[in-house]
Symmetry: C2
Subunit: 124 residues, 2 copies
DNA sequence: AGTTTGTTCTATAAATAATATAACAGAACA
DNA sequence: TGTTCTGTTATATTATTTATAGAACAAACT
């Protein structure tokens, strides 16, 4: 999977990395059981520090997207049974939709955008 | 309008403040022309520093949610003509929906959540 | 035996966030 | 006119976060 990092972004590198991997899982570029590059490999190929990648992997582990196998490294393993999810998502959507509403972006437009994005994620 | 701040949140205080005000506008608690408390007043009532409130107001000004009148202070004035909006929203939604998709939250559930939230924002 | 894995520790530099104190010009008001 | 309030600006300090670096560890694979 191709991982691009924007060094001019105001987002932390490890957050960008985490986001890319989560989106990779959603879009099926990464599947259950797939092995992520080692922290050293990925750091090398992107051109950032090992510890930055390690932090991204740690966050992904804590959020339930990967498990770490001593022998194989970081493996995609999704813990779908996370109850906080809906509430967490509600909080994030509240802000985004508030901005949309202020800017006269209609509910229909948002629904269309949702469908378009979900299309790229399996489509369920 | 009631503004609550979570001091235990990992979100910066000025971001929380900004978010609350944007949500206040979306939910019509704040309307075009309404005057926000002065930076000193609001800081006092919340129990934070004046500069933190000032930063929130500055961000809101730059994002096109308030204008600052020398005499009256910060006034709600929405600049709806911001073209970056949809693209900005797409980027944010991509991550949120990726997480949702990974956790088997269906497109229908997301649509329902959108409707529920939009309900509180005028409903258009 | 040697390599690679994630992990941990210590350390440093830069950026960000929050606080504090002070001062300024413009406007409102008595 | 003098006082008060407005956002704004400047300087400074502290704490936290982010990213880097080098070193070392046990576990597992070749």
């Amino acid at each position: 999977m191709l991982i691009e990092i924007d060094f001019n972004s105001d987002q932390a590198l490890y957050i960008q990395l985490r986001n890319r991997i989560i989106m990779g899982i959603a879009s099926n570029e990464l599947q259950e059981g797939d092995v992520l590059p080692s922290v050293r490999q990925l750091a090398e190929s992107i051109g950032i520090n090992m510890h930055t990648v390690n932090k991204a992997y740690s966050v992904l582990k804590q959020e339930g997207f990967v498990k770490v196998d001593r022998r194989r490294g970081a493996v995609i393993a999704i813990d779908a049974a996370r109850l906080e999810n809906l509430e967490e998502m509600r909080g994030e959507l509240k802000v985004i939709l508030a901005k949309a509403s202020c800017r006269n972006i209609s509910r229909q437009e948002v629904h269309a955008l949702i469908d378009e994005i979900y299309e790229g994620y399996g489509g369920v």
